[in-house]
C-alpha cells in the first residue's frame, strides 16, 4: 500500500535577523543585514500509512508546527521531499487543501458570527461536497455526538469545548484523507477531552482517515495513538509504537513513599540514600523513579526503610508522560 505521507530528509531553515538590545540597538537593526540561520527542522524522514493515528510530540519550539505547515503546504522545505497523497503540498497548495483537514486548537476556521450549520453549508459548497456525502456525514456526526444544540448556535457564543468539537467536525466534513490536529484538547476540561478523544477515534475508524496529532497531553496519546514520533530541536528522536516506547527505557517504575515530617527534607535525605535515581516531592508523596535494571524496587524500598519510618507507599508503572519527559530531557541514547 502506498504511503499517505512520505517525508524524506526534510530540513527547514529560517533566516532570522539578529536583534540587538536597547534603543540604539533597535535603531541599528533597522539597517542591519546581520541574519542568522535557524534550523527548525533537521533532516527528518518518516512515512505514514493510510488510517494511522500518529502522535507527533516534542517540547515547545521543537519544530512540530513547522513540520505540519510543510505537510499542509504553507511552508516549503529548504531541502528534502514531501509527498502528501502523491502531491507536493507547497507546489500545489490549493489542490492539497482538498485532501486535508486542519484543526489548530488555538484558533477556529469557523465563521464566527454564524450558526454552526451555516459554516457547514459553506464548507459543503467550498469543498464541493455532494448532497449525499454531506447528509451521510451529518448522520454520522449525529450518531457520534449530540450536535443538535450546537448546529443553531453562533460560534462566538460557544464554549471553548463546543467550539473545538465543532472545529473537529468541520475539519472532517469533506471526508479528507488526512486531518492535522494541532493541540486539539488544549484548555479543555476532563470530560470534554474524553469526548473529543472518543470522537477522533470514531471518525478515524469510520472513515479510515489518517490523523496527525500534536499534543502536550499524554492522555491524548494514550487514548489515540499507536505510533508516536518525537522530535526535539528539529531532530527526530523517536519513531515507533507506543508499547515499544516503554520498554525502550529499561524497566522504570515509580516508587512513592510517605514519610514522617517535612516531605521536602525527607526527599533530600532519601535522595542522598539512593543517589542513582531522581527523587521528587509533592504535597503528598516523595517519588523515586527507579530503573530496575540497576536495582530492584524492593531493594530501594529496603534501603530507605532502614533509615526512615515510612507511613505509606505506592508503586506505579511509569506513565507515558514520564517517558516522554525523560526523552525531552535526556534524549534517546
Amino acid at each position: 500500500m502506498a504511503s499517505m505521507i512520505e517525508i524524506r530528509n526534510v530540513t527547514k531553515e529560517f533566516k532570522v535577523l539578529n536583534r540587538r538590545e536597547g534603543l540604539k540597538g533597535s535603531l541599528k537593526d533597522l539597517f542591519s543585514r546581520d541574519y542568522k540561520t535557524v534550523r527548525a527542522v533537521d533532516n527528518i524522514s518518516m512515512s505514514i500509512e493510510p488510517g494511522e493515528i500518529v502522535g507527533y510530540l516534542g517540547p515547545n519550539g521543537a519544530g512540530k508546527s513547522t513540520t505540519i505547515k510543510m505537510m499542509t503546504g504553507v511552508l516549503e522545505p529548504t531541502t528534502g521531499e514531501i509527498l502528501v497523497d502523491g502531491n507536493i503540498p507547497y507546489a500545489n497548495r490549493t489542490k492539497n487543501a482538498e485532501n486535508i483537514g486542519v484543526v489548530f486548537g488555538q484558533r477556529s476556521q469557523l465563521w464566527w458570527a454564524l450558526p454552526l450549520i451555516e459554516s457547514f453549508r459553506l464548507l459543503k459548497d467550498i469543498y464541493q461536497i455532494s448532497d449525499a456525502d454531506y447528509d451521510g456525514m451529518l448522520k454520522l456526526y449525529r450518531s457520534l455526538v449530540d450536535i443538535e444544540p450546537l448546529l443553531h448556535k453562533p460560534v462566538r457564543q460557544m464554549s471553548l469545548g463546543q467550539r473545538t468539537l465543532s472545529d473537529i467536525l468541520a475539519a472532517f466534513l469533506h471526508d479528507p484523507k488526512i486531518v492535522f490536529l494541532d493541540e486539539p484538547t488544549i484548555g479543555l476540561d476532563v470530560s470534554m477531552k474524553a469526548k473529543i478523544r472518543t470522537l477522533i477515534h470514531a471518525l478515524n475508524k469510520e472513515k479510515n482517515t489518517t490523523v496527525i496529532l500534536t499534543t502536550h497531553d499524554m492522555g491524548d496519546v494514550d487514548a489515540l495513538c499507536r505510533r508516536i514520533v518525537i522530535i526535539d530541536k528539529g531532530k527526530m528522536l523517536y519513531d515507533n509504537d507506543m508499547e515499544h516506547l516503554k520498554g525502550f527505557f529499561g524497566n522504570y517504575r515509580t516508587l512513592k513513599v510517605r514519610a514522617e515530617g517535612d516531605l521536602k527534607a525527607a526527599a533530600e535525605k532519601i535522595s542522598a540514600e539512593v543517589p542513582e535515581f531522581p527523587v521528587n516531592a509533592d504535597e503528598e508523596w516523595v517519588s523515586i523513579l527507579v530503573d530496575e535494571s540497576k536495582s530492584g524496587v524492593m531493594d530501594v524500598l529496603g534501603r530507605i526503610q532502614s533509615r526512615f519510618s515510612i507511613k505509606d507507599m505506592q508503586l506505579e508503572e511509569i506513565s507515558t508522560e514520564e517517558v516522554i519527559k525523560k526523552i525531552y530531557e535526556e534524549g534517546v541514547s
Partner: protein, 267 residues
C-alpha cells in the same frame, strides 16, 4: 470556475452582516454626521468665494457629488487591509491559505456579502433621497448603465489596491499606519473627499495618470455629468478597464511573490 462555491461565500457574508444591527445603525448615524459636516463646510467655502460657481461646480453639484461619494465609500470600502493584517498577526492566515481556493479570491468573495448589504442599506437609500430632494439633478438615462459598469470596475480596482497594501503587511507586520496612509491617499486622490475639479492643475494632471480617480471620480462623473457624449463615457470606462486589469495583475503577482517569500522564509 464553479460559481456556487463563491456565491455561497456571498450568502454567508450577507447573513453575517445582518447579524450586526447595531453596527449598521451606528454606521448610518456616523455617515449622517459626516454629511452634516460636509454640508456646512462647503456652504461656507461657497459663501466665502462670493460666486455661485466654483471650478465649474455649483454648491448643489458639489454637495450631490460628495454625498454620493460618501455613499459609495460606505458600500465599496472593504477593510481588506485590516483583514489581511489581522489574519497575518494572529496566524489565522494559515487556515485561510488552506481553503481549497486562492486566498485573493477567497477574501474577495468573503467580502462580497457585505457589498450586497451595504448597497441596499447605504448606497441605494442615499441615491434615492438625493434623486428626490434635488428634483432630477441626477439624469435618469444611459448614464445609469455607465455608472453600474464603472462601479463594478471601481470595486475591483479598490480591492486590488487594498490587497496590495494588505500584502505589504506581510513584510511590516503592522497594519494601523499603513492602512491610514492608504485610506488618506486613496480618498484624496480618488476625489472622494474633494472633487477633482477643485484640484490645482498640476495635481489634476498627476491624478489623471493614477488609478485612484477610477475608483470614485470616474463613476460619479459618469453618473452626474449630463453633458457628456457616449464617446467620452466609453473613454472613461476604457481607462477604468485598463486600470482594472493592471491592478489585478500587479496585486496577483505581488501576492504570489510575497507568499513565496513567506513559505520559504516562514511567517
Amino acid at each position: 470556475m464553479n460559481l456556487k462555491k463563491y456565491l455561497s461565500l456571498t450568502r454567508a457574508g450577507i447573513i453575517e452582516s445582518l447579524q450586526f444591527r447595531i453596527a449598521m445603525l451606528v454606521m448610518f448615524a456616523g455617515n449622517l454626521l459626516y454629511l452634516t459636516v460636509i454640508y456646512f463646510l462647503w456652504r461656507s467655502i461657497y459663501a466665502s468665494s462670493g460666486s455661485e460657481v466654483v471650478n465649474g461646480m455649483t454648491f448643489s453639484d458639489t454637495l450631490i457629488y460628495l454625498v454620493l461619494a460618501t455613499a459609495l465609500f460606505g458600500f465599496m470600502e472593504m477593510y481588506a487591509v485590516w483583514e489581511i493584517g489581522r489574519a497575518i498577526q494572529s496566524g489565522k492566515i494559515v487556515l485561510d491559505l488552506l481553503k481549497p481556493m486562492p486566498y485573493r479570491r477567497y477574501l474577495f468573495w468573503s467580502y462580497s456579502g457585505s457589498f450586497v448589504v451595504n448597497f441596499f442599506t447605504i448606497f441605494l437609500p442615499t441615491f434615492i433621497v438625493v434623486a428626490i430632494v434635488t428634483h432630477g439633478a441626477i439624469h435618469m438615462g444611459v448614464n445609469l448603465l455607465y455608472f453600474v459598469l464603472a462601479v463594478v470596475m471601481a470595486v475591483i480596482i479598490n480591492y486590488s489596491i487594498d490587497f496590495i497594501v494588505g500584502t505589504i503587511c506581510l513584510y511590516t507586520e503592522s497594519i494601523w499606519g499603513i492602512n491610514i496612509m492608504k485610506q488618506v491617499i486613496v480618498l484624496l486622490l480618488s476625489g472622494a473627499t474633494i472633487p477633482i475639479a477643485f484640484f490645482p492643475e498640476p495635481l489634476k494632471t498627476i491624478v489623471s495618470y493614477l488609478p485612484f480617480q477610477s475608483i470614485y471620480n470616474a463613476p460619479l462623473t459618469l453618473l452626474l455629468d449630463s453633458g457628456q457624449d457616449a464617446v467620452s463615457a466609453i473613454k472613461v470606462l476604457g481607462v477604468q478597464l485598463i486600470w482594472c486589469i493592471v491592478m489585478t495583475v500587479i496585486s496577483k503577482l505581488f501576492w504570489k511573490a510575497s507568499l513565496r517569500q513567506i513559505t520559504v522564509n516562514g511567517g
